[in-house]
Symmetry: C2
Subunit: 177 residues, 2 copies
DNA sequence: GGACCATACATCGGATCCGAGGTATAGCGA
DNA sequence: TCGCTATACCTCGGATCCGATGTATGGTCC
């Protein structure tokens, strides 16, 4: 997830680590803050995989800043990841939101629509959190108010997203280009 | 998160590993499946921490089943975790949902309400995913339909949950005992 | 009788992540 | 001048997780 977010932000324009950190904090930090101990090793991994290069700026600031640029391989890696997301990128809401934040980088509306349809298929699957034997237990049956809330909130989320997916897919289908 | 879920399910009644696996699959497997390689080491950790004991059943099934029982320390550990959740348990939706699934085990309605209020405070904080400089960018401003959708879905979820929290907190406050 | 699947448990290597700590410089107010 | 905060980067140990793989037995279907 972190890898995806780093590639996504750098696709727009080069940033140095600290700026990247602030962008990441805005995107995912509210829910799940990322620490330096996560970010800097991740940058190093991407560098040694040849997806980005660091250029030392003898700039004004405190420590010498390393501006991070995506390489061609890095740009291609982002597009591949967006085009063919892993199953977890589709099912896990945190990852899916990260993917959505950068999906516009995929230039072809048909490819964008294909990704949205995978999410649609996932959300359309019947899923329950609790079972008695093999029978799914619906929200209304619970005496437990917390489990009932869990199901109600999950249902509201799913419905809001399905509605959005419907209209957006329709838009993408008559989009030109 | 896994630890919490294991303790939560075993609090109700003893289970053996395979049953536990199915319960976990129903609760979180849709979004994030757990593999054997995650579950069995987690059980071992809990065992060596003294939170559960394994009793070998010479039962009918294929391999000898190990029925897992919570110890007193295990029961106390679950209640502590529910009473004072870590920040990530509050902010990360996956973890929060897991916590909600077992919050009823906390016997005192006032303690349950205190946990819900922490979530309420978290959701009430103004948060945006994207900034231009220091100014948060609202959903309506985006030309990018995917980022707009991200914000719309997040907002719908938050509103549904806030509504549920309001009514549930009100119920808990006039609850007897 | 043989193929296949579900049950049931376990281990290992590799990847990733987090928290805590460390090293600097620059700028501002008391 | 002292301390604080922001900027900027880095490392290490420990925890956790995942995927692949292994080892059994019992039941079902053809």
């Amino acid at each position: 997830m972190l890898k995806l977010a780093i590639l996504g932000f750098l696709y727009d324009r080069p940033l140095h680590g600290y700026e990247l950190r602030r962008h990441l904090a805005a995107l995912t930090g509210h829910v799940r803050p990322i620490s330096d101990g996560t970010l800097y090793p991740a940058i190093k991994r991407l560098e040694s995989d040849g997806l980005l290069v660091r250029e030392t700026e003898p700039g004004s600031a405190a420590a010498p800043r390393h501006t991070l640029h995506l390489t061609e391989a890095g740009r291609a890696a982002l597009l591949d990841r967006l085009r063919e997301p892993e199953p977890l990128d589709i099912s896990d809401e945190n990852r899916w939101f990260t993917l959505l934040a950068f999906l516009r980088h995929l230039a072809d509306p048909a490819e964008q629509a294909a990704v949205l349809r995978r999410r649609l298929a996932f959300l359309a699957e019947p899923a329950s959190f609790f079972y008695e034997g093999d029978r799914p237990v619906g929200a209304e049956e619970f005496a437990d108010p917390f489990r009932r809330g869990l199901l109600l909130v999950a249902r509201a989320t799913t419905e809001a997203e399905l509605a959005w997916l419907d209209t957006t897919l329709a838009d993408l289908e008559d989009s030109p280009r």
